[in-house]
Symmetry: C2
Subunit: 337 residues, 2 copies
């Protein structure tokens, strides 16, 4: 019926006489229509994958545009020679709520980052950017990455598995204390009579005369912090960058100095992890983390004294605040007798 | 020699002739001096207790003048019919570091406060003021006491024993969050589909969809809060005071409403107590606390809905932050496997 209407219209427009012309036009129109339908059918058969990906990307974009830059965070994970751990961890972290994007700082110089492998195993919940580096530097992870769009950074070492409940809670704590490092690994410095500082953990003498212990640093390798501090780090005296390059260490100590100096109070808040693991024993790479080096701990003390020298002050402040999630694990507010 | 000098001087001044007058004056002078010495000796024998107390008071005053009004706190303890518990608790609390003064709100109408007993068992480390009340009202403890000189109030129920380490730590937390109630007893309200609220503790449904529980109130009967909130309370609508008088309950819920409304965030911060006990079973008074009344819990829910009505809003906000002292008890930051 529609075709007849079309033909009638054509005739009316063309003002051609008679039936003979009408039949030829009709046949021609039918052929054209059939061809168009065939092509459409072929296209439809080809479209699905492209269309689905487009829909996914559109969906993801809509969702990420909805997210305010305070409501989500960017994971920055630096990696060297432990790609098996990296990929296992990425499978876990990519699904964490409120994660906006992952930036993998690829310190394996000369080795191609696994973009192709990553893409072939898609689709993924969020974008993951592999940033090939030109030199294997510890402080590569503290660059101001143009891909970073959020106010919060989640920085995690490439052998550290932090459970999702821990991350969700710690991020909510960071949102309440956005000028401090909110993380899972507390450390401290101790003063000695000679004025020389030493770096350590709970095994060291607690400062002050009260009960319990204190911490003065929260390590950045398992923490949330404000992304503006990456810019702060870049602006530090060359001596600070040189110290980190010389030791391939202490970037986290430097960050604590910078932040404590800036805010005039303790640089970090310790959140007690419920479920956090170090997977370094599980790597097949044969490579073990930097902290196994014989000189590692001594370097950390060395760095503290060097930084005090560079900044001409000791800005680190002690804290004994330990934060846990109320009611998780169940009834953790009850007294254990 | 001196006496002779005196006599000579007297003679010189008196211009009297001869030796006879001199000897009489000498004897008189000697008698006067002896009497003076005896009196002095007697006074010295009597003085010690008075002088010591004065020295103590002077020492205490010097110390308290040294304390800034942020560095110490005033304990306000309201008491009704459990004087045995009160006195036992005062023996404990009077020695807590940074305590400036104790104000006992004496709700035993018609019965004399134990000032004499208290003084007879002195000296005490800090002043304790017994405030005789004219009516037995729950909200008596929320008056603006003229004796209160500190920015911080420690409010404790007259059957609650909080250990000194807990108090010292919680006070240090309050100093970092002086606009919130920092205390040891968290509670919450729950919403229902009908819009009617209910009051409860951990046994109630946790709000939201995440892990763990939340609290929206910190009870004032074991807490530190800013003394300015006493003035705030006095300025509330008469309906609020009437509600508390009618129920002899809910003064703490009202305080949480007032503070949450004022600061626009959660009214309190929960500090997990290490060692806190309720001594109500130990009283010989035969009186058990208000919370044993059959209608107590229902009243609390009733109060929440009344207060929402009075303020035309629900200002309480949820929180899941639980604070503990890092390293106390020892190694409490370690994971329990």
């Amino acid at each position: 019926m529609k075709t007849q209407g079309l033909v009638r219209m054509c005739c009316h427009i063309c003002k051609l006489p008679g039936r003979v012309m009408g039949i030829r036009v009709l046949r021609f129109s039918l052929v054209v229509i059939l061809v168009l339908l065939l092509v459409a059918g072929a296209l439809t058969a080809l479209l699905p994958s492209v269309k689905e990906d487009k829909m996914l990307m559109l969906r993801r974009e809509i969702k990420s545009q909805g997210k305010s830059t305070m409501d989500s965070f960017t994971l920055i994970m630096q990696t060297y020679n432990r790609t098996d751990l990296l990929l296992k961890l990425l499978n876990h972290y990519q699904a964490v709520p409120n994660l906006h994007k992952v930036i993998v700082v690829w310190n394996n110089i000369g080795e191609k980052a696994p973009d192709e492998l990553w893409n072939s195993l898609g689709p993924h919940p969020i974008p993951v950017i592999f940033k090939q580096q030109t030199a294997n530097r510890m402080r590569n992870r503290l660059q101001v990455f143009p891909e970073l769009e959020t106010n919060a950074v989640l920085m995690v070492d490439d052998d550290t598995l932090i459970s999702t409940p821990d991350l969700v809670f710690a991020f909510s704590v960071w949102q309440q204390f956005p000028d401090q490092i909110v993380g899972f690994v507390p450390r401290k410095h101790v003063s000695t009579l000679s004025g020389i500082y030493s770096y350590g953990s709970f095994e060291m003498q607690a400062p002050g005369s009260g009960n319990g212990d204190q911490y003065s640093m929260v390590l950045i390798g398992a923490s949330f912090f404000n992304s503006k501090y990456l810019e702060f780090f870049q602006r530090q005296p060359a001596a600070v960058h040189a110290l980190i390059d010389d030791t391939q260490n202490c970037d986290d100590i430097a960050m604590n100095f910078i932040i404590a100096k800036h805010i005039g109070k303790t640089s970090g808040i310790f959140v007690k992890p419920v479920n956090m693991d170090n997977l370094e024993k599980e790597t097949n790479s044969g490579y073990s983390g930097m902290w196994h080096r014989a000189e590692h701990a001594l370097q950390r003390s060395y760095c503290i004294n060097k930084l005090v020298n560079i900044y001409d002050s000791m800005p680190l402040k002690y804290s004994n605040i330990m934060i846990s999630q109320f009611g998780f694990p169940y009834a953790n507010y009850k007294r254990k007798i």
